[in-house]
Symmetry: C2
Subunit: 342 residues, 2 copies
Amino acid sequence: MQETEISTLGEFGLIERLTKNFDLKNDSTKLGVGDDCAVIKYDDDKCTLVTTDLLLEGIHFDLTYVPLMHLGYKAVVVNLSDIVAMNGTPRQITVSLGISKRFTLEHIEQLYAGIRQACVDYGVDLVGGDTSASVTGLIISITCTGEARNEDIIYRNGAHDTDLVCVSGDLGAAYMGLQLLERERVASKGIKDFQPDFAGREYLLQRQLKPEARVDVLEEMRQLGIRPTAMMDVSDGLSSELLHICKASGTGCRVYEDRIPIDYQTASMAEELNMNLVTAAMNGGEDYELLFTVPLTDHEKVQQMKTARMIGYITKPDLGAYMITRDDAEIEIRAQGWNAFS
Amino acid sequence: MQETEISTLGEFGLIERLTKNFDLKNDSTKLGVGDDCAVIKYDDDKCTLVTTDLLLEGIHFDLTYVPLMHLGYKAVVVNLSDIVAMNGTPRQITVSLGISKRFTLEHIEQLYAGIRQACVDYGVDLVGGDTSASVTGLIISITCTGEARNEDIIYRNGAHDTDLVCVSGDLGAAYMGLQLLERERVASKGIKDFQPDFAGREYLLQRQLKPEARVDVLEEMRQLGIRPTAMMDVSDGLSSELLHICKASGTGCRVYEDRIPIDYQTASMAEELNMNLVTAAMNGGEDYELLFTVPLTDHEKVQQMKTARMIGYITKPDLGAYMITRDDAEIEIRAQGWNAFS
């Protein structure tokens, strides 16, 4: 039998290959694989959104520098962010855990304290799950259901030529937070009572350890009467997500390097670590900001936004996806986002 | 800090401890943790049911004797069975996978062939998931959503004194199938081109490797006009599930040893392995049959059922839960069901 290493396909190639033979059979299944959430429609008015994330110790998190409470909070938020990215309201989660012998009840209670805090902060109910021993490491699988009126749902495939490309918050800080934690972990090796040095980098840590789902961005858009044509959350990195929207919508895009929102702490950390700042912001991932497109006619409304800014525009597909640098060069955007299989 | 080993609590103790501080906040959350599925209500007529299962290599399955295609099928069916156990219709699944380096694309395609077959057989749509590398072993997390009219949903807590206790199909065969597979695995060690001996045991293998969700039992009950007062599926073993229904309903029960449905192959295998047959049937688990209670007035209707039979009755709570043996002794029913943490 032919043997194909999964790493040669990557996550998206693998999913495409595996799911291509699955036909949708139920009237209630409005959208299957391929967006932030699945969309299930049971009545004329509302839809149920469904999304799920699997977090594995040693792949997605390292407990030597992530406190269990933060991990629990983040594991919930990354799911909520997918519901928000469809313009829905998260309502329920299920939490499944695989727990190896090195974890005690008190450890798992810390994890649940974080899960509970996220449920309280976002008004979400824990409604089920499955709990088991694992051979090795901690396994967290969370599924989130949300609610949206049919006409409110925003997909990835609605961007059109001349639409404006916008992103909320700032990018690259979560990635720089991870670099910082990793640096301090290495520095701590063999040193008893090591005190990590995080002074002046609190924002980076917060972005890595306690990300938030940008419900406030949806709220501001509603207040300003902005209705995005396409939207998704930035989990794998801006480059990767831009290409997702362009592919789904059948368009190209241009984004301006000097418009990419970057926090001062991110820039300062990149300099200290001698890393390329724009690469970190474009490909870092885990920002959980909202990337969205709006009609050109919403230009003035977008300029009023406090939570998001315009970074470029959508083009016809044959123009490709490029970043325009500060010196007016065009660099092709490639998905260098995080790949668990590499 | 106090350290409590999770094995001292067991799965249900752990879940109870972890989820007790979670209040339900959303109107749409009709039922949270504690039944086969969560129940989400978005309109006056219908509910969405949600259930999830986490299957871990080395804990729930052993790939030395379970073909990947069967594993994929079973991983879906165990979820569908939970929807069926609430008297709902399964509609959508999400599939999340953690895949270690020893698996190739072709392996995962076999797994998906089984997942696809279950989707086809039960008319269910694959709508999403999350796919990642894992450090070690195969991880499968499936969530299933289903549909039910509000008045059709059957919970665990509706059993009343004098209700009849019924179970579909037969019990213990899946467990004996596992014993058989394990015996042949041990026998095969060090032998090249080993041919396992499964002659006359095909039913046991089928029950272990390719269980089904008993949609047909629901259909027969509808035709006969039977409406169970309480229902759940038998995944951990009849003893464990009887106690769940009694606890949730605030009742006791009596079941007759000589009424427990057992297939000939199960009995023959138990004899060959010198194992207690009733213990296997009461505590074996993985049968995915339906355990349900009906009002005493449905006695004659139940007797007409081809897919299920009466095995006992519900009592007042102070009478406890007992099995009445062939020689009229009463043995207390204890949950000796499968515990991943032991």
